[in-house]
Symmetry: C2
Subunit: 379 residues, 2 copies
């Protein structure tokens, strides 16, 4: 194999494909990136058991072929190349599987892996397909990812549910303590063609997806088959295995009534929570209390006799006063994921879940379980 | 105690004084920052066994007093305060040693340490004093700090020698493998008043000093006594214990002759070394070879059959050809510490130390021991 391309292009492509590589792969060859010449340029593939990421670069191909090179080392090497043309070359059938990378006065010889061992790409038979703006997809992921369960006791909850509806994409994730739902309005024939449909995407896949979306105006094509989902953006393509099983019917657990309602400015709420959390973390109970009075919200925490008390300015309340406590992390995760100026919180009692949502629309909805604090009287 | 000041000023001052605090202090009170009202404002002090850092802020003092507050927690809390006036308050003789920090709607109550346990500041009887521009002092430290010995087998080498001469400050540091000497020209009555003088400053102190120098035009006043050194810049003051004992007479080990001389452009040399080091680190021997021919410098490394070879462009040589090997880290440290466009390297044999220096002047001088590589023929 022998081809020439721009070092910068190679660097970007290696960076994208290497995102799929696991630090401790199940088989040695998956430490490698597969590099293969083809009609449309040179294709780079990285993979673990769950995900395969492929991308293609323009190159002058002087001799066809395939190599598998150690992904991490290759990525480090190409990142340090000068901004010039680079030539990658290997001899077909070389028993020591050497590949050389030349760029100006720099020459690096890497020992490859056995490309024949590299697993072939899953066959994805498209059951449904649609396109979605990158930014919208990224927002869906960012608003739900943190609520995906990290423990494996219920494997289906280590993924997020993606619901393809006629007028929207909805993503939902929950662990035992909170639920996150994000919604992206869709229109046109795109969505209609395959709705309604539900799949569960592993959290790890969504984490990688966030990193390969380059930002900008380009659309992402999403194809869904029985066991796989494919995201395609620009020249990069990611195939990922779906989780099997039925996701929890989360709509059933959403409370429909409320006793206390608070509208609060997000920046003031986030700043108060940030300070309160500092003290809450001293004792590692991570507990912050909200005391809701008439148009008043006081946040407090204490640990080893240190105390924090915060008056949140600009709050409007409705309904009964309430004292309720939360794990600060669950509230912080939410406030960091949204960009509205104001948020609405709805409560029933201090042992029932709280709802956080925008003042208008359904872009997101969070449900958080409170922590029972026995020193606080239940109202 | 009760005073009011700007949150931003308090934040900066706490940040500076807390630099002296050790994560695992020898006595609990040294986890704290001492805060004391005085005539010139409020003084904040942080300390460990080696170093004491003090700084003063302007404040409206409503009631005099002293508290010692947990440094790390205080630093986290004040960093998150809104940009407004803050009031710190404690009751004299309160057995639970509470102090409250109020800023707009935020109120934090911290439990203090026993301020009476706080060690008193060392009495520094000035033996010599001079002033030096911050940038010059910082450069001296930055060019030598990395060569200070980290193992304790020869305690005096865990510090850097500071030589105060009539016309210059010279700082020198060495471990068993390399020597760094940096020189800052001085003029005027400043230097003359106390030269010649030698002290050994602990590496940890120099590391902290780098962090409290705020940058800019201000001069640093340096006072030296028998066992302490004091750095004063703006309203911050750092007192540090000196190392006792005699530093190595390093000038005796500097070779005066050379067989091979190389002048190389620093950016090209650094880029080549950067790439070569990547491969060298794969096998953890960290070894790079330099092959010096006529106006030619080739750098190479190999590990687990991977290889790197780099032609350094724009090199001028004199004398004999040479093949010599180094630990890449020692060369990388040097190339990162200097900002010249070109550097001169002088060699004798491939088992003798190499000298790195500027083409002109004596701003710095490095000596690095090579690694004997038995497969390479000695020339």
């Amino acid at each position: 194999m022998r081809f020439r391309c721009q070092a910068k292009q190679l660097q970007d492509a290696v960076g994208v494909a290497a995102k799929a590589i696991n630090a401790r792969p199940s088989t040695p060859v998956l430490e490698g990136l597969l590099i293969k010449t083809g009609e449309n340029g040179v294709r780079l593939t990285g993979s673990d058991e769950l995900t395969t990421i492929e991308t293609t670069i323009d190159a002058a191909i002087l001799e066809e072929g395939t190599v598998a090179l150690p992904g991490r080392l290759l990525s480090d090497v190409v990142r340090k190349l000068p901004d010039a043309d680079v030539e990658l070359r290997s001899e077909e059938g070389d028993p020591s599987r050497r590949a050389s990378l030349r760029c100006l006065g720099s020459r690096t010889m890497l020992i490859g892996l056995n490309a024949e061992d590299y697993p072939s790409k899953p066959q994805v038979e498209e059951k449904a397909g649609f396109t979605v703006p990158q930014e919208g997809l990224r927002t869906l992921v960012q608003r739900t990812l943190f609520s995906i369960a990290t423990d494996e006791s219920r494997p289906i909850l280590t993924g997020a549910l993606l619901e393809v509806k006629e007028d929207a994409l909805v993503m939902a994730a929950l662990d035992g303590f909170r639920l996150a739902v994000a919604r992206l309005a869709m229109s046109g024939p795109n969505a209609a063609c395959c709705a309604p449909l539900q799949v569960v995407i592993p959290g790890k896949v969504l984490g990688e997806l966030q990193h390969i979306l380059p930002g900008g105006e380009e659309l992402v094509s999403v194809s869904i088959s029985d066991r796989f989902i494919r995201f395609q953006v620009g020249r990069a393509m990611m195939d990922a295995r779906l989780l099997e099983g039925e996701f929890m019917k989360y709509r059933q657990i959403l409370p429909t009534e409320w006793q206390t309602r608070v509208v609060a400015p997000v920046p003031a709420l986030a700043a108060a929570l940030d300070r309160s959390s500092l003290i809450a973390r001293v004792s590692k109970n991570n507990l912050v209390r909200l005391n809701i009075g008439e148009n008043q919200l006081t946040m407090s925490s204490n640990a080893e006799q240190n105390q924090s008390q915060e008056e949140v300015e600009g709050v409007i309340t409705e309904g009964k006063p309430l004292e309720i406590a939360f794990n600060e992390r669950y509230l912080n995760d939410i406030l960091k994921a949204i960009d509205d100026e104001e948020i609405e919180m709805r409560f029933q009692t201090n042992v029932s879940p709280c709802i956080l949502k925008p003042l208008e629309g359904e872009d997101y909805l969070y449900l958080v379980l409170p922590i029972r604090v026995f020193t606080a009287p239940s109202r």
